[in-house]
């Protein structure tokens, strides 16, 4: 079972990956934010995703995340009452067995933060999405350095002395080294 894929990708690196992923089957990318409204951003085409490959947080892990599934897969949204009595809606991988989570992260200031694709599930659909993602990384010339897949432009950044690291706050010893 494939559980996690770690990668470093600039916008130029990640956009073709998303296109390749979608070329296999129509996908939807749905925001996983914890919301106080049922409104939720849904993208039926990766070209509509705002700023792929640009991190929204100083930690790659905490950057914007999407639940990725086939378009005809029904997403189960969990509704509950928050501690202040307000109704809240979350979209979790645990409730959606034919889905994966995608955090692209990417450019943050003058460094690059890692993205991940991960899933809790062994279902054929979830595992196929993971495998297709790896296949896309390979097809687009990503290089495996230790546990990370590194895009072409990301690799150029690394060779140019830029930081490829987990979070801006992380000390240098956690940076990727060639």
């Amino acid at each position: 079972m494939m559980k996690r894929i770690f990668f470093f990708a600039t916008p130029a690196d990640i956009i073709p990956i998303l296109k390749r992923l979608e070329s296999n089957a129509p996908l939807k990318f749905v925001s996983t934010e914890n919301m106080a409204t049922p409104d939720r951003e849904i993208y039926l085409d990766s070209t509509e995703i705002p700023n792929p490959g640009v991190s929204t947080h100083e930690s790659g892990h905490a950057s914007t995340n999407y639940l990725v599934s086939h378009q005809n897969t029904k997403n189960n949204v969990h509704a509950f009452v928050g501690t202040k009595g307000e109704k809240r809606w979350v979209l979790d991988n645990s409730d959606n067995e034919e889905s994966v989570n995608l955090t692209m992260a990417g450019i943050w200031k003058d460094m690059l933060l890692p993205g991940t694709m991960d899933t809790l599930h062994e279902t054929p659909v979830a595992q196929q999405l993971m495998k297709l993602f790896v296949a896309a990384l390979k097809a687009e010339g990503f290089t495996k350095v230790d546990m990370y897949w590194i895009g072409k432009e990301a690799l150029e950044m690394l060779k140019a002395g830029k930081r490829l690291t987990q979070a801006e706050q992380s000390p240098p010893e956690f940076d990727v080294k060639l």
């Binding site: 005809n72 997403n75 979350v90 645990s94």
Partner: protein
């Protein structure tokens, strides 16, 4: 971009605006050539299911999140009821009889062993993640909700790294990590737990790390 929920709750002006967009046409085109989803079957059955209702149900709901279709008003048809049940039920008025917890979560809580720990630890981690979610945090890792965050170490691979039990991000961007830990008789974390905590602090010195004794 499609947004589900309020825009589709029976406001004809909004619906008309939406129907004029490229998103609407593209959605309908895709749905007409794609497989009917269980949502489609359910919603059209509930709504009565003539051609117009089917088209609108298709256009509004099938590729989106089924449960959020509650409250949709179809002309001449009963409005689908919005769910207002207990707070741990996955909202699903179109899926009658759905249990409070998803099948995965039930398995997660009932099984034992591996990195996720025994049933008591799993239950504790799940409850903690739900408390944070109730306070508006997005659970970004662990807690039986998602794969755990992995904080890499010296390598290679996962060597020297740490899986975090629960990682949560507040709406203003603060990140909190929670480790449920085994403790010594004096209440301090065991050496292994303390070492894992030290690794997390070293890698993320600015974030909050909470150590909570495991329930015994």
């Amino acid at each position: 971009m499609l947004r589900d929920g309020s825009v589709f709750t029976g406001n004809d002006q909004e619906l008309a605006r939406f129907r004029a967009t490229q998103d609407y046409n593209r959605t309908v085109d895709r749905l007409k050539t794609g497989p009917a989803s269980s949502l489609f079957v359910t919603i059209t059955a509930a709504a009565g299911g003539d051609n117009d209702a089917q088209e609108r149900a298709f256009a509004l709901g099938a590729p989106l999140d089924g449960p959020l279709m509650a409250g949709v008003a179809l002309p001449g048809r009963p409005t689908l009821p919005r769910y207002s049940g207990p707070n741990t039920v996955i909202e699903g008025p179109l899926v009658p009889g759905r249990s409070a917890l998803s099948p995965f979560t039930q398995r997660y809580l009932n099984e034992s062993g591996g990195r996720w720990g025994n049933t008591d630890t799993r239950t504790q981690n799940y409850q903690i993640s739900q408390e944070y979610a109730g306070n508006g945090y997005r659970i970004t890792g662990g807690g039986g909700i998602r794969s755990e965050e992995f904080i890499s170490g010296v390598g290679p691979g996962t060597r020297g790294g740490t899986f975090v039990d629960i990682t949560a991000r507040s709406s203003d961007g603060r990140v909190v990590r929670i480790q449920t830990v085994d403790t010594l008789p004096n209440g301090q974390p065991t050496p292994n737990e303390a070492a894992a905590a030290a690794r997390i602090r070293a890698a993320r010195p600015n974030d909050e790390l909470r150590l909570i004794p495991k329930v015994k």
